[in-house]
Subunit: 261 residues, 2 copies
DNA sequence: GCTTGACCCTGACGCTACGTCAACCCTGCA
DNA sequence: TGCAGGGTTGACGTAGCGTCAGGGTCAAGC
């Protein structure tokens, strides 16, 4: 005859756990000895181990009782469900593991590797840390919104970076971000000219097709624009300069119907 | 400016979750609009996504705040720990998955495949369902006690089953279990004779080395004996008959110093 | 006989990360 | 004007135990 401590030790659980199972009626209360101690037989050990097997598989205690008494076909069915849940959970954890693995690399925090790679390239072409940090935040938003399309978006971005004008643009923006440049800084205008020029080309080549773009989520792009302005209010000046040149928006540009005077 | 519902939807959480993070100070309370609604900027979305990334990796909320503000080296270190935990958890779940996969096969419930295979063989040689069920419970105990040695134990058991006397023994015990045989049933004696004979041989060949056996856990074997008696009180008669023949125990036999008269 | 330490008892509150009411306010629309 | 669909606070509920508090029991050693 076992005491509760021995029973618990044999099954690899705590005494509290055994008492809890008694409370909720999952394991029947055994007989007591003269001094009121619970005394268990060998079948209790087997019962407890069976309970723990299911509990370890993530089955709620409230279902284990029914499950252990169910007929074989019901049981097999339930086991299928449990196995499915386990598989999903494992997959979830593995996804999570990949995410934080990149996060260890330093840059990321909820970013796929393509993006961290892109950010690395930005650093190499001379973007400042503040600039990269701002980009990173933007990509966190995009990656959350289109987790399955982020790779193709990144591929396009990489191609764009082959254009020396874009490199120049990133450097200009980096300088501006790190300086306390005022509204009349000539670099602002140069940056706006580059952006407008590139937008023009993209428009001409049909890359900016008005309306039915694959990523037309106004909220998402409004958020990106808002993020830019929140991280540096001077971003609004750039938006204004772009507007003068006939473009609205910052992360996704739209040609204005009629350029303001 | 986002409402709490939009923020939550974008990050893939509930409003309650966002409010909870405010309560515990993990996410700063934003400004309110004229009607008292919370209004969020884009940075809040980024913060929330970062928090969820860590939370999904199993990091307690109470640590996430510190973690997000930690310096890179501390952070990288923490990420290592988190990754370790994730790895362990995945491994745990996969073990659990294997266990319940066999459980689906019907027999098991916390049993490795070697054992279910052995039980199948018992059925084929003519053991009754009650007999197999009793054996199964015993193996659940053994598998819990020596999970790493169960394979070699099973291998030995399989060899033993090649002996036709053991087959005969299992059939006898099955019949007795399924009948309402009394104390004077001749099959009891025959079974005891077989057990004693086999024990004698094992002893002669040195398989029963007194004392320093690899599996000398008195509790475990006492449990097994108790289990037998609990599942059918007539097992005690067999124990008595064996004692007359100079052997103590049931699952692990010991030669008595002096055969009782 | 007495102490000491290991074990057991019940009852109750604590914990994490929210879910889920209840009771109310604000806004836009048919 | 009422109604649906947002939002607000406050408070209690949930799972699976952990962790006290405040006792009693048992075996051993002095």
């Amino acid at each position: 005859m076992l005491t509760i401590g021995q029973l618990a030790a044999y099954a690899g659980v705590t005494m509290r756990t055994v008492r809890h199972y008694h409370q909720i009626g999952l394991l029947p209360e055994p007989q007591r000895d003269a001094s009121g101690y619970r005394r268990y037989g060998a079948t209790a050990v087997v019962s407890l181990i069976r309970i723990r097997t299911l509990a370890n598989a993530g089955v709620p205690l409230s279902q284990i009782g029914r499950l252990l008494e169910a007929d074989p076909s019901t049981f097999a069915e339930a086991v299928q469900r449990i196995d499915g849940h386990l598989r999903d959970e494992i997959e979830r954890l593995e996804t999570s593991r990949k995410q934080i693995a990149q996060l260890a690399a330093g840059d990321s925090l909820a970013l796929p590797p393509e993006v961290t790679c892109y950010l690395e390239r930005l650093r190499r072409i001379g973007a400042s840390e503040r600039m990269v940090a701002a980009e990173r935040n933007g990509w966190i938003l995009l990656a959350a919104r289109w987790p399955d399309h982020i790779r193709e978006i990144m591929a396009a971005k990489h191609v764009q970076l082959d254009d020396p004008r874009l490199v120049r643009l990133y450097r200009l923006l980096s300088e501006l971000l790190d300086s306390d440049a005022g509204k009349d800084d000539p670099r602002l205008k140069e940056a706006a000219d580059i952006m407008a020029g590139m937008a023009e080309e993209a428009y001409a080549s049909g890359e900016i097709d008005s309306g039915d773009a694959p990523y037309d989520d106004d909220l998402a792009f409004d958020l990106l624009d808002a993020l830019a302005i929140e991280s540096d209010p001077r971003a609004r000046w750039m938006v204004d300069l772009m507007r003068e040149r006939g473009w609205a928006g910052w992360n996704r540009m739209e040609r204005l119907a009629q350029p303001p005077d």
